[in-house]
Subunit: 364 residues, 2 copies
Amino acid sequence: MDYMGVPVAVTYSDIARHAGVSTATVSRVLSGSDPVSDAIAARVRASADALGYRSNRAARALRKNTSETIALVFPDIEQPFFATIARVVEDHAARLGRPTIVCNTGEDLGREQVLLDLIIDERVAGLILAPSDENSAAAAAVVEAGIPLITVDRRFHGDPVSSVLVDNQAGARALVADLLGHGHRRIAAITGTAAATSSRERLAGCQQAVAAVPGASLLIAEGKMRDAIGIAATTEMAGRLLSEMLAGQDDPPTAIFCGNGIITQGVVRALKSAGRAIPGEVAVAGFDDLPMFDLLEPPLTVAAQPVEEIGRIAGRLLFQAIENPGREPRVVTVPPQLRFRLSCGGHPAAATGRGYMHSTMNPD
Amino acid sequence: MDYMGVPVAVTYSDIARHAGVSTATVSRVLSGSDPVSDAIAARVRASADALGYRSNRAARALRKNTSETIALVFPDIEQPFFATIARVVEDHAARLGRPTIVCNTGEDLGREQVLLDLIIDERVAGLILAPSDENSAAAAAVVEAGIPLITVDRRFHGDPVSSVLVDNQAGARALVADLLGHGHRRIAAITGTAAATSSRERLAGCQQAVAAVPGASLLIAEGKMRDAIGIAATTEMAGRLLSEMLAGQDDPPTAIFCGNGIITQGVVRALKSAGRAIPGEVAVAGFDDLPMFDLLEPPLTVAAQPVEEIGRIAGRLLFQAIENPGREPRVVTVPPQLRFRLSCGGHPAAATGRGYMHSTMNPD
DNA sequence: CTGAAAGCGCTTACAG
DNA sequence: CTGAAAGCGCTTACAG
């Protein structure tokens, strides 16, 4: 609606006048909140169309004290793992007519706090979070504000919340067991910030595997992700940690476990540019399967996370929690998919082709 | 603030009562909209803190008829190109206290329409869009609603808007010229939907290069991205288009130009799994440099887009437009970076190491 | 610099 | 099933 060329919002009272009903009736028809006789409903809809009505989501949010928006707060949306979850969840939300707010914390607790405060002030309908710290006070404030919370990738140790997790320990254990099976005894683990429960669980898996083999040892390097925002910086950091490890030991490690896909990428890049043969001089295995890991020379052995599935489950849990706030929290743990390829030192099936590519879990 | 254990919102009138001032004064202090005497301002702030005040962004948005939220509407946020731009812009927005809504159109005009309607109803402060179609009616509606619009990657042919673009034609022309320089005469181009101006410009660049060489021909395959949402599907589609091309011709192409990074990835994957030597049997060059393209065997020749820079410029243009709505639209075109590696048939400098890696533009 | 008051566009008891 | 009316929490002319 224009007035002297200046656009003017069409409101419920305009529609009410046009259709000869009250604004309450307009609201009932257009929001579908209450039954209205067919004849009147049709008249209201026709008036809304005729006047070019557009809803005002802020007004609705103010009145209902909650918006329809959902929020995703991740360490780094540029990482394929989080980018895929964001794509899957946004898709679901958009189909429900809900906008999706996306934020990056950069693994920084201070930023996470600020962002979650913003999210609370937005009175979002729900939040999917990969908490930078399992004791995040900011996440606790979200729960206290009555906002449904789902965590992904990482646990949260406050009030019980629904989570979608991967069996990190089993995945890492299987990968390291395989490296040990190839005769390696000095294993290095390069992981992301240990504040993330996923990193710690993966390390625990490495330690279990190493503890089971006499004479085997584990060297650990933790990357401070805070200092490495963005894929390029994380890649570079992983390479640096690797070089320090290989150079700084009398008896350097012969096999590397990489805590996530970006770290794997950094490690492989550093090894290649240093001219170290994989797996001849240094064997490599890591969490996450990035789109080109199987095209590299050698193809990389990984524990792939079922990322799309994680996103679907997280979205489903979130919308269920929004619909039904009384629902019991649920923790869903999905298995990683082990894909033995050649970077771990070769594997009978991998060497001949695609065998083991889609096994789900090593019975170890 | 709690009442019988039920959380109750603290409002300006609570603060006003506590501080002994009017709600107007509270508003002036807390929003910083108007000068207030230091003594009163301090009292108001102290009261707000004491009561645990949290702002209500919906109320503000309703009153001011615009939210502080910005929106990003992209074909697919899972693609590294868009994921990086989203990360950079969100970072900037968050520092300004603005939430960022992110949406995926999947190159589907209908979905884009629905999403942009949602965005308009949210009365966002501004929008960065990679339009699925240069004549997008939905984008025109955004402009008409008075929402500042910046396009990235693609042009929009409605009212003039600010845009951040890459010199697609020059990049593609240089890449194809290099393939021709290696003696190839039957070139194939595999691109994304031609509804995107970037795809058409890259094709035009290919055609220019081919037209300059007698006896050279260009075969074109356009991927319908609509049918290939997500990286996995796009990769697969590119592989299929390639196979059809190689199998369906009497005299199949010997060199492939790939319209973007995901397509390049699909083409390389298909060639490798078909056992075709790169560049021996088929040479490859493409737009976008993905993080592992230089680690593949052979490393891939590409025209890299300065993605972070594109994101920074788009963010800057957006916030300038929000601050100053009267500003003239600006179109910024950045050069792609040519990185000649071995997949195009070898290159004097590339063969010996990292030469040409960071040249910016072929003088052609 | 400060306050009283209207009003942004919705929804929801309440009454009929 | 429908309407009259209050009110969600802010901001902003207007007046002083």
